[in-house]
């Protein structure tokens, strides 16, 4: 029903209380928001919770959103703040580390080496401090520009660039160390 409508019309309809229009907004953004949460939190159950909360909170507070701004920046900001709160909570209420299981499975044609590299980079990402992990996820999963990342994380654009640069160097070192350990 709402498939053909543009985003602004869907948001206007949502403001009028048409929750079906909000459902269409969720369909369009749920993968991006879930990916952000999973990347930040490194825990699937928490990522699922926060994705749900982000869309409910965004709807309830939709009047705070300005239609002339990018909706993605706004919903990502809400999700990022909720993730930060959850990480703070997890410091005092840790859960047992559960490896993220991929139900889809790998394409058999892809090399085992590539699969190992993906596992290594994901493990390395989980070891990075949040300050480096968050900009990397927004840059490489959500494909955002430095300016948008700076708005979402409320840090200067220069800091975003530095953290992405350093974060990548840290990832590379962690992956290489991991590989050396396996070969030894």
């Amino acid at each position: 029903m709402y498939r053909v409508q543009d985003e602004v019309s869907l948001l206007r309809a949502s403001l009028e209380g048409e929750t079906e229009a909000w459902g269409e907004i969720i369909s369009r953004y749920k993968d991006a928001v879930f990916g952000l949460c999973l990347g930040f939190l490194r825990n699937r159950a928490d990522a699922e919770d926060i994705t749900h909360d982000a869309f409910v909170r965004a709807y309830v507070n939709l009047r705070r959103y300005h239609l002339d701004k990018r909706f993605s920046t706004w919903i990502f900001t809400i999700a990022a703040n909720l993730c930060r709160n959850r990480l703070r909570y997890r410091k005092n209420h840790p859960v047992a580390e559960m490896p993220l299981h991929l139900s889809g499975g790998m394409d058999p044609a892809r090399s085992l080496e590539l699969e190992e590299r993906h596992d290594r980079v994901r493990a390395a990402l989980g070891q990075l401090p949040y300050a480096y992990r968050a900009p990397l996820v927004l840059r490489f999963y959500n494909d955002l520009a430095y300016r948008e990342i700076s708005e979402i994380l409320a840090i200067p654009e220069g800091t975003v660039k530095t953290r992405i640069h350093r974060g990548k160097a840290m990832l590379k070192d962690l992956m290489e160390n991991d590989e050396e350990r396996d070969q030894a």
Partner: protein, 199 residues
Amino acid sequence: MKRTDVDEILRDALREEVSGARACLDDLEERIVAELGERRPRLRTIDWIRQLVAPTRGARFGQFAVVGATAAAFLVVGLFASRLLDHPEQPAVGGGIRLETAQAARTGMQDVLFVVPAPLAATTVVVVGDFNDWEATALSDEDGDGIWTTTIPLSPGRYEYGFLIDGRWWGEDPRADEHVQSFGEYSSVRYIGRGGEGG
């Protein structure tokens, strides 16, 4: 390994991870839409003022009307506050809500006084409801008589709420308009404004 390799590996690894875990998103929109039900986005005070002048909107007069309505609201609140200072009223004692009807009617907002008679040994009393997103708003008992109060400005509408007295749920406010059962417990419902006591 080059840094540019890290870019690509990270991008692919994160996408692969999401696609492997996204089964939980399959019916997310249906679940949230069902949960939201008839709920509408929360109105801000400025929106209430805009609604008041909506018939005149579209012309420059509308802008003057917004300013005028805001000024009038401040005047009414100011007069009300000065009267309160001259004749301070004590909150009603007993369970339930009493509406402060002298609140600036132009904004549509009304100050709702929540009153809970709690055991004298109680140390914390909070109210939670859909008006505060089910997050706690504390009540206080400054004179230690066991009557805990707080005032929350609410716009007209239907509100579901309950109290937590030292963490224990109390949802059957005797002065509520109705009681509903949700999540296995009773909550109180109050109608503010049109059709309700506060109208």
